[in-house]
């Protein structure tokens, strides 16, 4: 019986033309999974695999061919510009704290102080004398890269920071630790955490769209120059009305 299952599994070899791998940003991943879930219902003979790994991993897998589409939640760097860059949506980076934290607003300077390790206690922001537990993403993360670009500037994130490798896990930590603060993709916020306004602007679909809220970044699909027809069709779906509607429903800002 086991051998039979194996035989069945081997029957179709690496059918690359009918399968697409979408790999990369963990921020993009849940949205990509939603898109592929719906797309595959309409195209049952197509197989799309969605993987995580981080934005940089997405780019390397795209370049090496392990993935047909690399996903990225930050802008391409200089040496990555040889790849095709397709914006599929815009997302904000939200600064979140535990719901029990009384603070409602934070400035870019304060964020720099916290994440560089200079600001050590919540009392410096107007709360109690408790140490700040700040959480960051891992180095290859597009979200981190965007955060460093948009917030930290020349300051480096301190090596005392707690590190987690996905938006969800950052959110989980903050949801359970009253003294924690971190940054996650806007589309991943839920009722377990409290979002702060940055320089008095709260991230909403409107403020992100109008770029009033400063911390916004594009979600990218990255491909090589030559792509298969099925990949092209899928990308077309994502960029079209249906795909965009799905993304906006899930909390992103469409490209239109």
């Amino acid at each position: 019986m086991l051998c039979g299952t194996l035989m069945a599994g081997c029957s179709r070899g690496p059918a690359k033309s009918q399968s697409i791998t979408v790999a990369g940003s963990t921020s993009v991943q849940p949205f990509a999974e939603k898109l592929t879930e719906i797309y595959m219902e309409v195209h049952p003979d197509l197989i799309i695999n969605v993987q995580g790994g981080g934005s940089t991993a997405g780019i390397t897998s795209c370049r090496s061919g392990a993935a047909q589409i690399g996903t990225c939640s930050r802008e391409l760097r200089g040496d990555e510009k040889d790849l095709q860059r397709i914006v599929i949506a815009y997302d904000g980076i939200a600064i979140i704290v535990h719901p029990g934290n009384p603070i409602t607003n934070i400035s870019i300077e304060q964020l720099q102080g916290i994440f560089s390790g200079r600001t050590r206690s919540w009392s410096e922001l107007g709360w109690a004398r408790k140490p700040i537990h700040f959480v960051t993403r891992e180095e290859g993360s597009g979200t981190r890269d965007a955060f460093e670009h948009l917030v930290m500037g020349k300051n480096e994130i301190s090596d005392e920071a707690l590190v987690q490798d996905s938006n969800g896990s950052v959110r989980e930590i903050i949801a359970h630790d009253p003294q924690a603060v971190g940054y996650i993709s806007f589309g991943v916020i839920n009722h377990q955490v409290k979002t702060l306004s940055v320089n008095s602007i709260l991230p909403t679909l409107k403020t992100i769209k109008t770029k009033q809220y400063q911390l916004t970044r594009p979600f990218l699909f990255v491909t090589r120059d030559q792509i298969s027809p099925s990949t092209k069709k899928f990308i077309g779906f994502v960029l079209g009305t249906d795909g965009q509607r799905i993304l906006e429903h899930e909390g992103l800002i469409g490209i239109h």
């Binding site: 995580g52 790994g53 981080g54 934005s55 940089t56 991993a57 997405g58 390397t60 140490p131 537990h133 891992e138 180095e139 290859g140 301190s158 090596d159 005392e160 920071a161 707690l162 590190v163 987690q164 490798d165 930590i173 359970h176 630790d177 003294q179 924690a180």
Partner: protein
């Protein structure tokens, strides 16, 4: 004739194991060695600056964290494991042991992610509320690891204790020793090499553990100042960064893997030689 062919086939299969090992070793060394040579072994091992995207590859803080976590896990786990082993080997009626020993071994099969998960749900908040710090800490990782290696150490220690010839114990008892005195002064020393082997194997498992540690240790790069500080071990770094690393960075991770590999291999060889020497 057919016999000869079969023998040859089997021989090839047999050498596949060593072949694989060679392949893996060569592969890992080939990937990792260049970066070690480039930054120099001392700098690689003893610099605490790990900023791979900026070309700095010092793994000192991770080595210290790995060692600290393992050492603490042993500190917490070995006394408990030994207590269990002694209790089960000497103080428990046989029919209970037949049930309890396999039960403990069963527990060695629980996946590490389950341990990590429960650690996050129960242990981390406890540490955070009553001891301070973010909860995700060296202490949390040590405790979880201690629990994870307990079954291994206990099981092997029980075997070691039971392997001591009955004569030794009976001799001691005949001379008027209490049960505990017999255990402490005769059995334990006699079972020493087995117990030490168990501990070494436990160490090897602890140092190689990845998932549970990533979930509870906090993964901060800084060298820990106290047990309440978050830590990042060698295994966590490899796991967290492997997916996206390129070029030098990837090689540096392989290099960290080499260090880990060498260390664990050393421990295992030590354990096997000790076991043989018995």
């Amino acid at each position: 004739m057919k016999e000869k062919i079969i023998e040859k086939i089997l021989m090839i299969l047999a050498f596949s194991a060593i072949g694989l090992l060679l392949l893996i070793t060569v592969f890992i060394f080939r990937e990792g060695l260049p970066v070690i040579l480039k930054s120099g072994l001392p700098d690689f091992l003893f610099s605490a600056k790990w900023a791979p995207t900026k070309g700095r590859f010092g793994i000192l803080s991770m080595i210290i964290s790995s060692l600290a976590v393992t050492f603490n896990a042993i500190l917490l786990g070995v006394p408990l494991a030994l207590a269990c082993a002694i209790t089960l080997a000497e103080f428990t009626p046989h029919r209970w042991v037949v049930v309890l020993k396999p039960t403990i071994e069963l527990l060695a099969g629980i996946p590490s992610v389950v341990f990590g998960f429960l650690g996050v749900i129960f242990l981390v908040p406890l540490i955070r509320e009553y001891l301070g710090g973010p909860g995700l800490s060296l202490l949390a990782a040590s405790i979880i690891l201690a629990i994870m290696i307990l079954p291994t150490i206990t099981s092997i220690s029980i075997d070691a204790l039971q392997a001591v010839p009955l004569l030794y114990k009976e001799g001691a008892l005949a001379m008027g020793a209490t049960h505990w005195q017999a255990i402490r002064y005769v059995l334990l020393p006699a079972a020493r090499s087995g117990v030490v082997t168990a501990i070494i194997l436990g160490m090897a498992r602890a140092i190689g553990e990845t998932m549970a540690v990533i979930m509870v240790a906090g993964n901060a790069l800084k060298i820990p100042g106290s047990v309440l500080d978050p830590v990042r071990t060698l295994t966590s770094t490899i796991a967290l960064e492997m997916g996206y690393s390129t070029g030098d960075h990837r090689q540096a991770l392989f290099a960290a893997g080499i260090i880990l590999f060498v260390f664990i291999m050393g421990l295992n060889i030590l354990a096997t030689t000790l076991m043989r020497r018995k």
